[in-house]
């Protein structure tokens, strides 16, 4: 590792380990608020009878809402100046003090099971890789992790997420 490396050795040491585990319960009104914020009034998410007529148990959670089910509670005095959680957020799980600016890179999720109001969800996130890259606007760090979402013993979805951290 050279002096101009942006990658902290603590981040390298975390590769291959579970860096976060969180849990939460699906709340119908919360996923419906999310859908409404997207402008997505899909009746599968809002209308129990409509959902049942299409093979679901009741109104189903929009699949892309899943990562938000297990979010924790943030204390305002622990936020970084830009509003990102300082102690409990991703930026603290993967220490990259030279790269304070974080952006979503990409995401690939496979959905195995429908998820409903009241379902207990546990998310378990493993750090796959932390790599320094060079792009048009200079050096950045590409972080890849895999999150498995479980409802009790059933994996309902699995997501590979890349995040970009810049100096």
């Amino acid at each position: 590792m050279t002096d101009d490396s942006l990658i902290d050795e603590r981040a390298t040491a975390a590769i291959g380990t579970v860096i976060a585990q969180s849990s939460g319960t699906v709340v119908k009104k919360e996923f419906q608020r999310w859908a409404a914020a997207v402008g997505d009034r899909n009746p599968l998410y809002f209308d129990d009878e409509f959902a049942r007529a299409n093979g679901y148990r009741e109104a189903v959670m929009p699949p892309l809402y899943l990562p938000h089910v297990t979010l924790g509670v943030v204390d305002l005095d622990t936020l970084r100046p830009d509003g990102i959680p300082g102690e409990s957020g991703t930026s603290a799980l993967i220490p990259l003090p030279k790269c304070p600016r974080w952006m979503a890179g990409g995401d690939e999720t496979m959905f195995f099971e429908p998820v409903y109001d009241g379902d207990p969800i546990t998310a378990s996130r493993t750090l796959d890789s932390v790599e320094q890259k060079h792009g048009r606007s200079g050096a950045f760090v590409l972080i890849t992790s895999t999150t498995r979402y479980l409802r009790r013993d059933t994996v309902v979805a699995q997501s590979v997420v890349t995040t970009i951290a810049r100096p």
């Binding site: 299409n54 929009p62 938000h68 943030v74 830009d82 979503a104």
Partner: protein, 144 residues
């Protein structure tokens, strides 16, 4: 929208979803996702500290709009099996965004009818925001 796997052909286009996000929508999306990142609601911070022209449309909101275009097309009998996106560019309130795609393949996998889609979010000037792929399962005709 297709009722059955057999209703879909390679080359079919997803009806494009046109959206012009507002700062109000961005705020509601931040609230619905418990996201305090100031680049999405604090214009002074986004412009003066981070150097953006305005507040930014969240990557996950772009992805959600792209998924909405897919599920609007596939209808209530379709089920999103897989969804992949990449963040390529920032979008700002007041820009006209377009989310669409097309059918690249149709296959039977373990008895399930799966449709492979190539999807993209873009600005009205053609700037690519979010390329991606999606797999949707549709019921097979007569398989119930």
């Amino acid at each position: 929208m297709p009722a059955f796997f057999e209703d879909v052909a390679v080359g079919d286009e997803i009806t494009p979803l046109l959206v012009e996000p507002t700062t109000t929508q961005l705020f509601f999306f931040s609230a619905a996702t418990y996201n305090g990142h100031r680049i999405h609601y604090d214009r002074g911070w986004a412009v003066e500290v981070e150097g953006y022209p305005s507040v930014l449309v969240h990557g996950p909101l772009q992805a959600a709009l792209l998924a909405r275009a897919v599920t609007d097309w596939s209808g209530p009998s379709g089920r999103l099996v897989s969804f992949r996106t990449q963040n390529r560019a920032s979008a700002f309130p007041g820009e006209q965004l377009r989310f669409g795609g097309s059918v690249e393949g149709a296959r039977i996998d373990d008895g399930r009818g799966l449709i492979d889609l190539v999807v993209r979010g873009e600005k009205d000037d053609g700037t690519l925001l979010m390329p991606g792929t999606a797999v949707v399962e549709l019921p097979r005709c007569g398989a119930r």
